[in-house]
Each structure stands twice: as C-alpha cells, then as structure tokens.
Amino acid sequence: MTALLVGESVSRHFGGLRAVDNVDFHVDEAEILGLIGPNGAGKTTLFSVAAGSIPPTSGRVLLAGRPVSGKSAHRSVHLGVCRTHQIVRPFARLTVLDNVLVGFHYGRPATVPHRDPREVAMELLEFIGLAGDAHRLPGALTLAGRKRLEMARALATGPRVLLLDEVVAGLNPAEAGRLVGLIRQIRDRGIAIIMIEHVMHAVMALSDRVIVLDHGRKIAEGTPAEMVDDPLVIEAYLGRDEGDEEPGHA
C-alpha cells in the first residue's frame, strides 16, 4: 500500500549546524514509526519540519502526495498532520475539556460537526482516560495526565498522522505501560504515528519500523529487532555521549 506521509531528502540547517541532513522517511496508515537517536540527533527538528512549524532548508514532506512542509503549522494540522510536544504545553488556564475543544473547533475546519462538539470531546476524553478531569485545569493533572491531555488535544484535530514527541518519557512503569496500550489503540483507529522515544522498551514494543538519527543523518532503518544489534546504532548511543540541547527548541 502507498505511504501516507513521505519525507523526501529533508534537510534543515541552523546557520552552520545541519540539524537534519538529507533524511528520507515514510509512514503508512495504521503504522507506528519509531524515531530514535541520541540527544542533538535532530529528531524534534524533523518533527517541527514535518508539522510545518519550521520550513525545511531543502527537501519536502508530502501527505498523500500533497506537500505539508514549509506551510504554517496550523495549515499542516488542517491537512491532517498534528504533533505533540516533548515538554507538554497545555493551555494552562483552559479546562481540560476546553483544551480539547480548541482542537475540535480549529483542527478540522473542513468537517462541520453535526453533533455537539462537547459530547464528541467528552467521548475522546473517555477514550484517553481524562473524562473525570474534564472540568479541571491542566495544572491539577499529574504528568501522565498532562501527557494524555497533550495527546487528546492532538487527536481532537482529527489527524491522519500523529507525531508523538517522547510521550512515555518521565512516566513510571505502570503509567508508561498504560500509555503504550493507548498508543496502540490510536494506531488501531487507522492513524499513522511517528514517535520520538528514549524509553527503548516502549519504542521496541510499539514500533513497526524504526529510524535511527545521529547528527541529523539517518544512520539506520528497519524493524526494532534489527536495530538493537546494529553496530552503528550501538556506537551512536554508547560511542559518544552528548548532553547538549537539541537545536530547534534552543
């Protein structure tokens, strides 16, 4: 079957720094693509390009054959590509429900909802497991809760491709486990997912395919199984360690 979201030799440079360097990728419907690599590898930058937040220096990203990169973020969302943030960014002074409603009202302008969006939103919150907190403020949620909210808000926009940036990281094993399950369910709804993740077992458990980035370049691609014993990957992770912040959200 044909790939849904395709990146064609995508590059993004910040001044001299090649944050993303000539990367090709693709993800199919109902597929989970893992995106791994050490800090500073350019994963988040790649997300930002795919989500339209920042234009690529060269190359392009296509959704079902139509370019989504290089447009403004909200356009990409309207086309069906939505991303979450590594550091969750809920609208702190909107209730959980209203956070989701923003997505419903503005994420999918083409589809005029026949039903009360607030009902739909509540259903989504049920699914995501935040129904009980609908009328609370994000500040009152646990980290796990806020990560779920971040995902709920993204789902509300009715994406065809969901870009998840380290949603599992920082959660305790139990929460992580539940979230992994949730992500599967989302995939089962036919939504393509690209996820950046440092929590290896999560990536390995979820991903149908994995792409490894290092210094902005794609150094490996394949099934999770293939990745674990790929020398390049091991070197990338163990060979050198780099604590520096990734460009893109510097």
């Binding site: 937040s53 909200h74 209730t95």
Partner: protein, 354 residues
Amino acid sequence: MTAARPLPWISLRALITFAVVVLVLWTGPLVLPLGDYTHNIIGLTFMFMAAALAWNWLGGFVGQISFGHSAMFGVGGFVAARLMLAFGLPTVVGWLVGGLVAGGYALLWGHPTLRLRGPYFSIATIGVGEATRLIATYWSDFTGGSSGLSLPLSSGPTKYQLYWYGLYLLVAAVAISYWLRRSRIGLALLAIKEDVEAAADVGVNATRYQDLVLFLSGTMVGVCGGFYASYQAFIDPQDMFSFDRSISLILMTVIGGIGTVLGATGGAVVFVIIQEFLLANYSQLYLGLYGILLILIILFEPLGLTGLLLRLRRLIGYRRLPADAGGPASTAAGSATEAAAAEGQKGMAEEAQP
C-alpha cells in the same frame, strides 16, 4: 459557526440583566434631574468605557498590551471631523467611516507587529503611537497641525444628545466583547494568549485572529475618537494622539480588571470618577495617585476591581457548578476557564480551581 455551538454565546439571564441596565441608563436622564455637567460627563464616560473595552479585546483577550491606541483614536477622530467638514456627512456615518479607516490603519501596522509578543509588541506600539502623533501634528493639511480642527457648531447632535449616542457605542462594545469572549473565537483567543505555538499546533490560525481582534479594536477606538471629536467640537493632534490617551485606556482596564468585560467598563467609571471628583480637589496629586494605584493593583490584585469581586465571591463561598458551563464556547460565566482566564494575569491558574 453557530452550528458548532449548542448554546448561544450569552446566557438569557445575562441578556436580560444587560437589557434592563441599558433601559435604565437610557431613560435615566429623562426622569432623574441630572445637571447638564453630570449628564455630559456620563455621556463621555460611556465613550471611555467603549474605548477601554476595545483596548481590552487586544490587551486582555489576546494579551497584547498596546501603548499606541491613541493612534487609532486620533485617526478616527480626524477622519470623521474631515468628512463632516468636507462633505457634511451625517455625524454617525462620519464616525463609522473614521472608525473603519482607523481599523485599517491598525491592521497596517498591526499585521506585521502582532508577530511580536509581550514587551516587544508593546515597545513597537509605543513607536507606532509616537510616530503617528508626530506625523499627525505636522500634517497640517489634514489635522490642521498645531491649530487643530473646529467642527461646525450648528450641525450634528447636541452635547445633550451625545449621551445616548455614547450609550449606543457602549452597547455595541459590550456586545462585541461578549461575542469575542464567549463565541468559538474566544476559545482561540485564550489559546493564543496562552501559547501561540501550541495554538498553531492544534490548528488555530493565530495571525488571522489577532489581526481580526486588532481591526475590531482599532475600529471601535476610532469610532470613539469620532465621538470625542463631536463632543469637543474642537480637536488638535497633540491632544488626540497624546501618549497619555493610550495610557488612560490601559489605566482604565487595569484598574477595573484586565481581560474581563466587567473590569474594563467598571475601570472606566472609576477612572472618570477619579478624574472628575477626586482630582478637582487634589489635582496636583493625580499622577501619583494613578501610579500608586497601578503599583498596588499589579502587586496585590492583578485583576483590579474584578479580582476583588472574585475574592469577595470566594469569601462568601459562592460557587458556580462548572458542569453547567464548559468555557468560552458555551456560557462560560463561572466556568473554570473563564475564571482562570480572568485570573490569568496572576499567572497562577490554581487560584480558579472550583
């Protein structure tokens, strides 16, 4: 977009209260023996309330503090005056056209500058306001320069009638405020105010909505400028475009409670009361008075009078069940979102947790 909303953006109760208040204000002067002076001052106050509300759309709802709204006030005033002088346009038409021109002018500088946030935007608006003032002051052919413009005394509504025109202005401003706050758009504005990027990442076209609000704000302030021109019958650039005028709008809103409809209006009233009655006796203290007021409000009650009211409400244990209201997209009067959005300036959302 109404399709997207089950409930009207203003509850029946609110609507009725509003109508009653307007009716009282409309008939007030006819039954009560107000002195002419008070009568006129109230009329002028209506205009200030409308202007403060308009400023609040941008400053409060979107969180972009403008120090340059005098620019639109002046443009509106002078365009209206010119139109009345040159073509003898009916006063109200003059105001509206003046307002639209002012709104257009606001877009002209606003569209590019609204990409800036926080202090950067504010600084830019200071630049805009000052540049506009200087250019207007020396563009004698249009503004009459330092000698200003005098409107025809005979034509147009009398000061006495202006009271009601002011009232209509206020009604329009309040209506737009509620609509901006409570309709679907209110949700977008709150999101933008919270985090532009995140808003864009869920599909909100931040630029478009900021532009829209600035245009509305500029237009309304421009119309107020026209009203002021008719009220004064003489306007000169130094006064119309003065920095203090922009400041007074900020003061009104901040005193009353930035980001809230009630606040902007109440603030304007307090502002005028201070102007008229306190300053009459202690006029050499008025600058400091406002200064201290500002400091106290920012430090202790960033929501101004509205904040005090909210506290009072909390004190007497008043709670609105959030279940009956889910934020701006519905009737948000007491909802956590509204309260929190109000509390907003404090930067502590927990405050509003029901």
